[in-house]
C-alpha cells in the first residue's frame, strides 16, 4: 500500500492544480484506505468537483467529502474602529 502521507500530498496538489477545482484551502487527511476532505466551498457544483478530482487522484481509496457549503449571507454587523 502507498504511504498515506504521499497520497494526501498528491490529492492536495490535484485539488489545487486541477482546472476543475483550483482549491487551495482543502485539508486532506488519509488514514489507511480512507481519504477525508475538509474545508469550505461556495457551491454544490464545486463541492462535487472536489470529490471527483480527489477520487481520480486516489484510486481505490474511499473518499469522504466532509467539506462544508458556506452560504454567503447578506451584510453582517458593523464594527466601529
Amino acid at each position: 500500500m502507498e504511504t498515506p502521507h504521499y497520497v494526501a500530498a498528491r490529492v492536495q496538489r490535484a485539488l489545487a492544480e486541477d482546472e476543475r477545482t483550483t482549491e487551495l484551502g482543502i485539508r486532506v487527511d488519509v488514514r489507511g484506505e480512507e481519504v477525508y476532505l475538509r474545508g469550505q466551498v461556495s457551491c454544490d457544483e464545486r463541492r462535487r468537483q472536489i470529490e471527483n478530482v480527489a477520487r481520480e487522484a486516489a484510486p481505490g481509496l474511499r473518499v469522504h467529502n466532509e467539506t462544508t457549503l458556506v452560504e454567503v449571507r447578506e451584510a453582517g454587523e458593523e464594527e466601529h474602529l
Binding site: V70, V72, A75, E78, E79, L81
Partner: protein
C-alpha cells in the same frame, strides 16, 4: 468630519457558475456603506471570461468600488487584461499605487495591490542563496517599497491599505503555520507602519481569522469570504464627532 463606512470583502472567487449570485447579496449596499473595497482573488482561474463576470457583478453600484487582484487572478497570465476590463467597468483597481475617493467632502485614500509572501519577522525568507529564493523575497520587498511611497503621496483625511496577502500572523490563525510564508509578509506591515494608516484590509487566508493588528498599531482585518461568511463587512472610521 462625518463618519466613513467602509464595506470590505475578499476571495469572492467568481466564475460562470456563480454569475448573479454575489450581485444579489450586495444590492442596497449604498444604504450601509460609502465605499466597497475588494481584496483580491476575484476569480478562480484568472481567465478573461471570469474577469468579465467580476466586472458585471461589481459594476454600476451607487458607491465607489476599489479592488486589487489576488494570486488566483494571475493564474492564466491575464492579470493586465482583467485589470483593464475592471477599470472599463468603472472599478478603481490598485496595482501597487494609491487612489483617493471623496465621500461628501471627506477624502479617503487607499493604497495597495496584490502583495506577496515571505513570512514574518524571525521566521521569514531572506534575500540569500539561489536566484529563485532571492527573486521571491525581492518581489515582496519591491511591492512594499511601492506601497510605502503610494501611502506617503496620498493626500487624504483617512488612509487604508488594501491587499490580498496578509501583513501579520494574527489574522492567519487557523491556517497551518507551515504555509504562513505563502500567506503574507511582515514587509507589508512595515510599509504601512512607516507611513501610517487607519486600517489594513486583506484576504487570501480562507481559514484564518478576521482581526489583528500590525506591530505599529494599525488594525488589520482579514475579510476573506469564508472568514467573514457575509457578502461584506462594514468598518466605520469615526469622524470628529465620535
Amino acid at each position: 468630519m462625518r463618519e466613513l463606512r467602509i464595506a470590505a470583502v475578499a476571495d469572492i472567487h467568481l466564475g460562470e457558475d456563480l454569475r448573479g449570485h454575489y450581485r444579489k447579496k450586495i444590492e442596497g449596499i449604498e444604504r450601509r456603506a460609502d465605499v466597497l473595497l475588494v481584496g483580491g482573488d476575484l476569480t478562480r482561474h484568472g481567465t478573461i471570461s471570469e474577469g468579465r463576470v467580476v466586472a458585471e457583478e461589481l459594476s454600476g453600484l451607487p458607491i465607489p468600488v476599489v479592488a486589487v487582484l489576488g494570486n488566483h487572478d494571475y493564474h492564466s497570465d491575464h492579470d493586465q487584461e482583467i485589470i483593464d476590463l475592471l477599470r472599463d467597468a468603472g472599478i478603481v483597481v490598485l496595482d501597487d499605487e494609491g487612489a483617493v475617493v471623496s465621500v461628501d467632502g471627506v477624502r479617503l485614500g487607499i493604497a495597495g495591490g496584490k502583495g506577496f509572501g515571505g513570512g514574518f519577522a524571525g521566521k521569514c525568507a531572506s534575500e540569500f542563496g539561489e536566484p529563485e529564493t532571492k527573486a521571491f523575497v525581492r518581489h515582496t520587498k519591491e511591492i512594499a517599497e511601492r506601497w510605502r511611497r503610494a501611502l506617503k503621496d496620498l493626500d487624504a483625511d483617512h488612509k487604508i491599505v488594501l491587499s490580498h496577502y496578509s501583513p501579520v500572523k494574527d489574522t492567519l490563525m487557523g491556517e497551518p503555520p507551515e504555509i504562513y510564508p505563502f500567506l503574507g509578509s511582515y514587509m507589508l506591515a512595515e510599509a504601512a507602519d512607516a507611513e501610517g494608516a487607519d486600517l489594513f484590509i486583506h484576504g487570501h487566508a480562507h481559514a484564518g481569522t478576521e482581526k489583528g493588528v500590525t506591530p505599529g498599531g494599525i488594525r488589520v482585518r482579514n475579510v476573506a469570504l469564508p472568514v467573514i461568511k457575509h457578502a461584506y463587512t462594514v468598518y466605520c472610521l469615526n469622524g470628529d464627532d465620535c
